[in-house]
């Protein structure tokens, strides 16, 4: 029973870290640019399929393929911003949302045409299991946990210790004040998309690794979990989203523990996430770490 709990906590940390990295990128864009990116899930899918192309078709090592995939999504995100989102600055929330919805359909169906509708997988041994103490760890989980810890550390350093990161947090906190103090918002926008896109690409590859198989709808189906993590952490806060993702991943996995009166049927993990979201919106829309303020 305790072993099951430890295993669930581990699984929760793995899936939670993916949600954390996905959500941190989405929340960063939301905070700095006031854009809710409804294509963020599809940015993840673009990353997963780019890495699939480099690793499985061109035969590059998975680590190299992942980095190339991150670069591709980052460049793509900047390109989309320049072409479609930059002209929309100042045009209000909802119309920007709809543009990103249009972009999500563009990406998803381009992936369908390019890679077909069948399920894909990376060339890692899906049957292999490492036994670490009481835990059973799949290679995909091991890679994911390593990559995610690295990404979380890098993002923490970037936001906390560099000028760029400080400007981002300043803009997210109060954009007028930041502009007055001389933050170059145009350059900041591109850097924000660079980071958000890169993280989305990485999260997509890891999601593909942990799921085992994936198709072009993978991002669309994950988007609402990403957004739930964003709300958990408080919309616009990248640090908050990291925490929100981990909390959401852990909650969903641990809820299935037998110790909780037999545990939740794993099929209803996603329903639990939905209840968490509605509950948050009702009682704590500023997120679990957020300050009490009017929204």
């Amino acid at each position: 029973m305790i072993e099951q709990l430890l295993q669930l906590i581990f699984n929760g940390l793995v899936s939670g870290s993916i949600l954390a990295i996905g959500a941190a990128g989405a929340s960063l864009v939301w905070g700095v640019l006031r854009i809710g990116n409804f294509a963020h899930g599809d940015y993840m899918a673009l990353g997963a399929f780019s890495a699939f192309f480099f690793a499985n078709v061109l035969g590059l090592p998975l680590a190299v393929a992942t980095m190339l995939a991150m670069a591709i999504v980052a460049i793509f995100a900047i390109g989309v911003d320049q072409l479609a989102l930059k002209p929309m600055r100042g045009r209000g929330l909802t119309s920007v949302f709809i543009v990103t919805v249009g972009i999500s359909f563009l990406i998803r169906n381009t992936l369908f045409i390019s890679f077909g509708a069948g399920a894909r997988q990376y060339q890692i041994d899906q049957a292999l299991v490492y036994v670490v103490g009481p835990l059973r760890v799949s290679p995909g989980q091991a890679i994911t946990l390593f990559a995610m810890l690295l990404a979380i550390a890098a993002l923490g350093w970037l936001l906390g210790r560099t000028t760029i990161g400080r400007s981002m947090r300043a803009v997210a906190e109060n954009s007028d004040l930041a502009a007055v103090t001389g933050v170059n918002t145009d350059r900041l926008a591109s850097i924000t998309w660079l980071i958000s896109g890169g993280l989305a690409g990485l999260a997509g590859v890891c999601l593909g690794l942990v799921q085992g198989t994936f198709d072009a709808t993978m991002g669309a189906y994950t988007l609402f979990l990403i957004f739930t993590a964003v709300v958990l952490g408080g919309i616009g806060s990248a640090y908050g989203a990291l925490g929100g993702g981990l909390v959401l991943g852990l909650t969903m996995e641990v809820s299935t523990w037998d110790g909780f009166a037999g545990g939740l049927d794993p099929r209803y993990k996603v329903v639990l996430a939905f209840c968490v979201l509605i509950g948050l919106l009702l009682f704590r829309p500023q997120g679990i770490f957020g300050k009490d303020r009017l929204l």
């Binding site: 209000g92 609402f224 209803y268």
Partner: protein, 322 residues
């Protein structure tokens, strides 16, 4: 061939109904809804479950389906409507995904991925639609007698859907011009000013969202009646996407442009499957379906970025500023 285009016209009528719902929510009241498909799914699944599992007559089950869609709308709207538009948008995206997920996983109730035909488990073909089909058949017979030529099923269906759709267009047009509609537009433009004038902003928004949910629910019923079984995949987010394209084609507050937008959209969308010149001839029919969606996505982005007031809208009111 005539049958195919009649089917497309029926579909355009159904699209008119749910796009009207989005027009009220998004265009008039400024409430983004990215889960129109979910509301349709809630109502048609509720209807089918009540008919098949509880053996209720259609005349009871259908209104209860619409009621379920409205209740679901309230569940999303009550926590989020007071907050910034982001939160409602997130809630509706989540709703779309959760309804699809539930329909897939509550197999005993919904039939799961195999669709409503599987509702009573394997070995039984569940049918929710016999009452509607009997009604449609008698209507078809009556029309054939009246017009003295054989009226096809699709034509009969169209002669039900389109009068209903146009009646609703008129009703919505009337509502939008009424004091109720003017208040909603005032709220959309300046919430604080409307509050200062003593309007209960929360209640008005809730009403607008519920009307939209009810219209989506009705459209969901028609979609279910048009076929004899449906699966969770029939209510993909893509329906929401169509609704946005249709509403934006006409300008987001232009009520009479909705049926026009729905006709233009469905006819072009269905018509592209007959285009077979280079480079389209390079794609097989499955890929063409994806290609169509890519082009629609592109059209939506270009439309909003370059022509925010829509093709037919007036710049003063319809420009997408909020």
């Amino acid at each position: 061939m005539v049958e195919f285009w009649l089917f497309v016209l029926v579909t355009a009528g159904i699209y008119t109904i749910f796009s009207l719902g989005l027009l009220i929510q998004f265009g008039i009241a400024g409430l983004p809804n990215f889960g129109t498909g979910a509301f349709m799914a809630v109502s048609s699944y509720t209807m089918a479950i009540l008919v098949v599992q509880l053996e209720l007559p259609m005349l009871v089950a259908a209104p209860l389906g619409i009621a379920a869609a409205v209740l679901f709308g309230l569940l999303l709207a009550i926590p989020t409507i007071r907050l910034r538009a982001d939160y409602l948008a997130i809630a509706t995206v989540a709703a779309g995904e959760i309804i699809r997920y539930l329909a897939l996983n509550l197999q005993d109730l919904t039939g799961g991925a195999a669709g409503t035909i599987n509702m009573l488990g394997p070995g039984f073909a569940a049918d929710y639609n016999w009452e509607w089909q009997r009604f449609l058949a008698s209507f078809q017979q009556m029309l054939s007698g009246l017009l003295s030529f054989r009226v096809s099923t699709d034509l009969a269906f169209g002669l039900i859907v389109w009068p209903v759709a146009l009646l609703l267009v008129w009703g919505v047009w009337y509502m939008v011009r009424s004091p109720w509609g003017r208040t909603l537009r005032a709220i959309r433009e300046d919430e604080e000013a409307a509050t200062a004038l003593g309007k209960n902003v929360f209640l008005y928004k809730l009403q607008a969202f519920s009307v939209g949910a009810a219209l989506a629910g009705l459209a969901g019923l028609f979609l279910a009646w048009q076929v004899s079984m449906f699966t969770p995949d029939d209510f993909r987010p893509v329906l929401t996407f169509y609704a946005f394209v249709i509403v934006l084609l006409g300008g987001k507050t232009n009520v009479w442009a909705v049926p026009v937008g729905a006709l233009i959209f469905t006819i072009i969308f269905a018509g592209t499957r007959f285009l077979d010149f280079w480079p389209l001839s390079l794609f097989n029919s499955g890929d063409k379906a994806f290609l169509r969606l890519i082009l629609v996505g592109l059209a939506l982005v270009v439309l909003i970025v370059l022509r925010p007031q829509g093709l037919l809208g007036n710049k003063k009111e319809d420009a997408l500023e909020n």
